[in-house]
């Protein structure tokens, strides 16, 4: 049976989401679409001058994937909160695997509130983001 916000129990996993490989084109498009023009993500010369070997992906591009994972499952109207910590840089060419698991379900003011633990990992197993979503589980 498919797990939904109204039936989810602690320990249940959300459908995984993968994104990538993240190309330089993706980063250029994300810079334009998000308005984040920080050259560290799109300009190799700038990145090298800043002591980096290469440009790296916008953290917010990965957070957007955690957001998609949560909203694809629950729908935007059930989203109460979304938070992330950026734990490692995401290199060009990486493919993200995003996962979510229900870690808490409790009633608050007569409403069911789910806490979902979220994470993004890249190909070599490095965790790049960890986060949390609060989702309404009231039928």
């Amino acid at each position: 049976m498919t797990v939904t916000p109204t039936t989810a129990q602690v320990g249940d996993k959300l459908p995984e989401l993968t994104f990538g490989p993240i190309s330089r084109t993706t980063l250029a498009l994300y810079a334009g679409a998000s308005g984040d023009h920080n050259p560290i993500h799109i300009d190799l010369d700038f990145a090298k001058n800043a002591g980096m070997d290469d440009v790296f992906a916008h953290g917010m591009l990965s957070m957007a994937q955690l957001g998609r994972l949560a909203t694809n499952w629950a729908g935007q109207d059930r989203m109460r909160a979304l938070s992330t910590r950026f734990t490692a840089i995401t290199p060009v060419g990486a493919t993200l695997t995003c996962t979510g698991q229900v870690v808490d379900r409790h009633e608050e003011h007569g409403r069911v509130l789910l806490t979902i633990k979220l994470a993004a990992h890249i190909d070599d197993g490095t965790q790049t983001l960890r986060g949390e979503a609060k989702i309404c589980g009231t039928p």
Partner: protein
């Protein structure tokens, strides 16, 4: 010693109006790989009872960035200029949203930022700026509260 201008702690930026335009919103959703037509196709969104296409979960950051751009065009400092952010050593630490209501294409929202605090970590190797952004709709009220930490790698 840090780089951030810590005297801006407590500063609240003047409210900036941002129009959530349909084309840029759909472009963003496509770029992040969104395929649900509720984020892309106005007809699908309207059939679902929405006034227009829906903004995805992290669009609050984009609205904040657009507000920064508008502030600069008005001759006002954006957040990074205000706190003296240095892009060469800048990292994004955390980002968090509390959702109070959805944002749709066509909405005209107001963005206000507060420089809430500056902290240090890892024995002074990192300095962290904490910023809160509120996105408000004139009739639907507060839509999203966003908090962000921006890090300088020092030394």
């Amino acid at each position: 010693m840090g780089i951030f201008n810590r005297s801006t702690k407590g500063h609240v930026t003047p409210p900036i109006e941002v129009t959530i335009e349909r084309g840029p919103l759909a472009f963003f959703s496509e770029t992040i790989g969104e395929t649900d037509p509720i984020y892309l196709n106005p007809e699908t969104a309207q059939a679902a009872g929405h006034p227009d296409i829906l903004a995805p979960a992290t669009y609050a950051a984009v609205v904040g960035t657009f507000a920064d751009q508008i502030a600069r065009r008005k001759g006002q400092p954006d957040i990074l200029e205000l706190i003296n952010g240095d892009l060469r050593v800048l990292l994004h630490g955390t980002e968090a949203y509390t959702y109070h209501g959805p944002m749709f294409a066509g909405d005209v929202v107001t963005v206000e930022n507060e420089m809430t605090d500056f902290t240090d970590a890892k024995g002074g190797k990192l300095e962290i700026a904490h910023v809160t952004t509120c996105i408000t709709h004139p009739t639907r009220g507060l839509l999203v509260e966003a908090t962000r930490s921006i890090i300088h790698r020092l030394g």
